[in-house]
């Protein structure tokens, strides 16, 4: 398959390539779009700009290395699934399961997202400017140097950090007005079943709300320590820089930390007698 020059214009000065995901306003199938991305990488391009993306799934699936993807439009589910290293920036919203089973890399979303963002991610960063849906950060896990970080500028729905086995989730509870100002979100920071089944890792929420009734099984609320503040600081600074959030607004509310009661939450649930 030859790349059609109508669809692709190269900008060799910064080693970038542009791909039109909907030539003549007709979205191309995801398989074709991903093949174009792979071709671009094989041809040595380090930066790939996807224009007019319209719901195509699996964008950037299992990509490796120092690649940058810019997505203009609305990517479909499973953006960056199994990804290992690249940086994806979405100028807009994003559907479900971005960063599914991600090993490494960065996903920056300048908008809202759907559900199950970062499912089982082992490493990398997912920064969402606005709100996220249900079951975000489910079963993210850390391992040696791998440490997944999910930061949500807005609010999250139910089951945030379910089955969490490591890493860090932060929600800030901010709202971004169309005129560019940043204010406090009027809705509650997260839904019910917060951190249910968590057995490692931390969920940090910027809120003054009483979260007790929202806590899931095996999760407990703690006051944030100085050490934890130092730990999250570099991620927060990076997040605020990317999305132009003034640092002083962050300081207006305290952080609460949700951590597991135990690394073995269901240990006493089973018994193994000889029958």
């Amino acid at each position: 398959m030859q790349v059609n020059k109508m669809e692709v214009s190269t900008m060799s000065e910064n080693n970038a390539i542009e791909i039109n995901a909907a030539p003549n306003n007709v979205p191309i199938p995801y398989k074709e779009l991903n093949e174009k991305i792979h071709r671009g990488i094989r041809d040595g391009y380090k930066k790939i700009i996807l224009n007019a993306v319209c719901g195509q799934r699996f964008i950037g699936a299992s990509l490796q290395g120092e690649i940058e993807l810019i997505v203009n439009g609305l990517p479909g589910n499973d953006l960056g699934i199994f990804m290992d290293g690249p940086r994806i920036t979405i100028n807009g919203n994003c559907e479900d399961q971005a960063g599914n089973t991600m090993n490494d890399g960065t996903i920056i979303i300048h908008g809202d997202t759907g559900d199950v963002i970062g499912l089982s991610a082992r490493g990398g960063k997912i920064y969402v400017k606005k709100d996220v849906g249900y079951r975000v950060g489910i079963h993210i896990k850390e391992y040696e140097q791998k440490f997944p970080v999910i930061i949500v500028g807005g609010i999250a729905r139910d089951f945030l950090g379910e089955y969490m086995a490591g890493g860090l989730i932060i929600a800030l509870g901010l709202k971004f007005l169309s005129n560019g100002t940043v204010v406090e979100h009027e809705q509650t920071i997260c839904g019910n079943e917060l951190g249910t089944g968590i057995h490692r890792g931390k969920i940090v929420l910027r809120t003054e709300e009483d979260l007790t009734s929202k806590l899931g099984v095996g999760a407990k609320i703690f006051k944030i320590t100085e050490e934890e503040l130092r730990e999250i600081d570099p991620y927060l600074k990076e997040f605020c820089k990317i999305f132009n959030i003034p640092n002083d607004i962050i300081e207006k509310k305290p952080f609460k930390v949700i951590k597991p009661i135990s690394k073995r939450p269901f240990q006493s649930n089973y018994c193994g007698n000889l029958i």
Partner: protein, 507 residues
């Protein structure tokens, strides 16, 4: 308060013949369950701890030990048998969900045993498998239902194919060693299985616990598994597989997740599963990106994208009441192979209640799925793998005749390696070095010996398969698949024969 535990009578008694006992204490060092000890004078046994694993019996140089059933213990009752009473005593003592291992231990009648094979007499000649070729190879992966040709060719000798082929590979026997992860079984056991699979050119499942880099060299014969915990799933894992299977369910525990207790997560397991040492490895009950057939199709497509369409992607489900329509959805959703795991199938650890009571027998599931796929004109597109108590070659042959392409085998492989079926796998104390992670136990399993025993086992199964094919006058195992006319039923329930699509013997 006094202890809540009843003093339950032991299952077994360890009889030590004092005349033959040399007091060498070899049995004590070999008993990983702590049932034997030396009190300064003689070897003594704590019978309640004995699981009858037979390690001491095998290791005793004087052949002084005998494990016997402890018979004189409970008043008999036909309904509240010993098993039921023990379950109640255990639960009233602990208050937890009872764990179990291996397959269902209830004495449920095997449907395979109620099936008889056909053989040729006079009108259709039998084939001598020792002198004529009988093929047992299988092409694994999705096949097109029909071929389309381009008709733009001007040269009539030149045919150009329009049909796009899906990835397929060839295996020499219709056998796959079922998924047993590093974690549920030991490194040595995994190594023996993978080496045997490569030597025989059959398949072996990795289980859902990742694939240790040492095993990459056998990956051309390994089906890796993507389960809800996504343990060890990274690009290397996806690229080191003959095929990838999305694990939805397991026959021993349909609808249940996984739970590898933290004490088993040593550095080897940590490295392979890519989780911290000592942490529980929890597999959520469902995949949280799969709540529908459409979602499943999405993960199938995602894995195909991630592997650039180079390997078959399949789905494993437990055999349950509505397996047939689910199977249709899976195949329509793009799965290249479909694995069915029956309710007698094995496990390293599962709640007893699920293992013993949930699911349906594999024989019925194969027949129902095969029939439904044929009705939907999908059967020939997909490779159907079936397991869940395929115990010996007869079960394998009958499973194929009912409609499976490949038989999935677990327990026989463990038994070949030395397992005595003591059903304590979840405790991680396997004295034979199979279902354990403790180094001093693991090294008891000699990889070369275990590999050769597996190779021998399947070699003999394959020869027996050829014998049966020859007797049926069939020269390729592919012609036996779904060939239910070569089966007859002799069991007590004609409804079973009807569901299997098999006539009664004599018909």
């Amino acid at each position: 308060m006094a202890s809540l535990s009843h003093n339950i009578p032991s299952y077994f008694r360890v009889n030590i013949d004092r005349e033959y006992c040399k007091k060498c204490k070899r049995c004590v060092s070999h008993c990983s369950y702590g049932a034997l000890s030396f009190n300064g004078e003689k070897i003594v046994s704590e019978d309640i701890k004995c699981v009858a694993c037979q390690r001491c019996v095998a290791m005793c140089p004087g052949k002084a030990i005998q494990i016997v059933e402890n018979e004189s213990y409970l008043p008999p009752h036909g309904n509240y048998d010993r098993r039921i009473r023990n379950i109640i005593w255990s639960q009233s003592g602990n208050g937890g969900v009872l764990l179990s291992a291996t397959g269902n231990d209830r004495p449920i009648r095997s449907i395979f045993d109620d099936l008889l094979l056909d053989a040729c007499q006079v009108t259709n000649p039998a084939i001598d498998p020792l002198r004529e070729t009988i093929e047992t190879k299988i092409f694994f992966g999705r096949k097109p239902n029909m071929l389309n040709f381009a008709d733009n060719s001007t040269d009539s000798d030149e045919i150009s194919l329009k049909t796009e082929f899906m990835p397929n590979f060839e295996i020499d026997m219709p056998i796959m060693v079922g998924h047993m992860s590093l974690g549920s079984i030991s490194y040595n056991a995994c190594m023996a299985i993978y080496q045997a699979a490569k030597e025989l050119n059959i398949l072996a499942g990795s289980g859902e616990g990742g694939l240790h880099p040492d095993f990459y060299e056998y990956s051309s014969n390994i089906i890796t598994e993507v389960a809800s915990g996504r343990f060890g799933v990274d690009i290397n894992y996806l690229h080191n597989a003959a095929g990838i299977e999305i694990k939805i369910g397991q026959g021993a525990k349909p609808g249940h997740g996984g739970h590898l207790p933290g004490e088993k997560v040593n550095s080897l397991i940590s490295q392979t599963r890519m989780i911290p040492k000592g942490s529980d490895a929890l597999s959520p009950y469902p995949h949280h990106d799969i709540y529908s057939i459409e979602d499943l199709a999405q993960l199938i497509s995602a894995l195909k994208e991630a592997t650039r369409y180079k390997v078959p992607i399949g789905v494993k489900i437990a055999a349950v009441h509505n397996s047939a329509p689910i199977a249709v959805g899976i195949v329509r959703g793009g799965a290249d192979f479909l694995t069915l795991d029956g309710f007698m199938g094995g496990t390293g650890a599962a709640p007893r209640i699920i293992r013993d009571h949930a699911g349906i027998p594999i024989e019925l599931a194969i027949a129902a799925v095969d029939e439904r796929l044929r009705q939907e004109n999908l059967r020939d597109e997909v490779t159907l793998v079936a397991g869940g108590s395929i115990r010996y070659s007869a079960d394998l042959i009958k499973a194929i005749a009912l409609g499976a392409d490949v038989g999935m085998v677990g327990m026989p492989v463990l038994i070949a390696m030395g397992c005595r079926v003591c059903q304590q796998c979840f405790r991680g104390l396997c004295s034979w070095g199979i279902a354990t992670q403790q180094e001093y136990l693991v090294k008891r399993l000699d990889i070369d010996v275990a590999r050769n025993r597996i190779v021998n086992l399947f070699h003999s199964w394959n020869e027996e398969l050829k014998e049966v094919l020859g007797a049926m006058g069939i020269d390729s195992v592919e012609s036996l698949r779904s060939n239910r006319d070569r089966l007859r039923y002799i069991g007590p329930n004609p409804k079973i024969a009807e569901i299997l699509g098999v006539l009664h013997a004599g018909q």
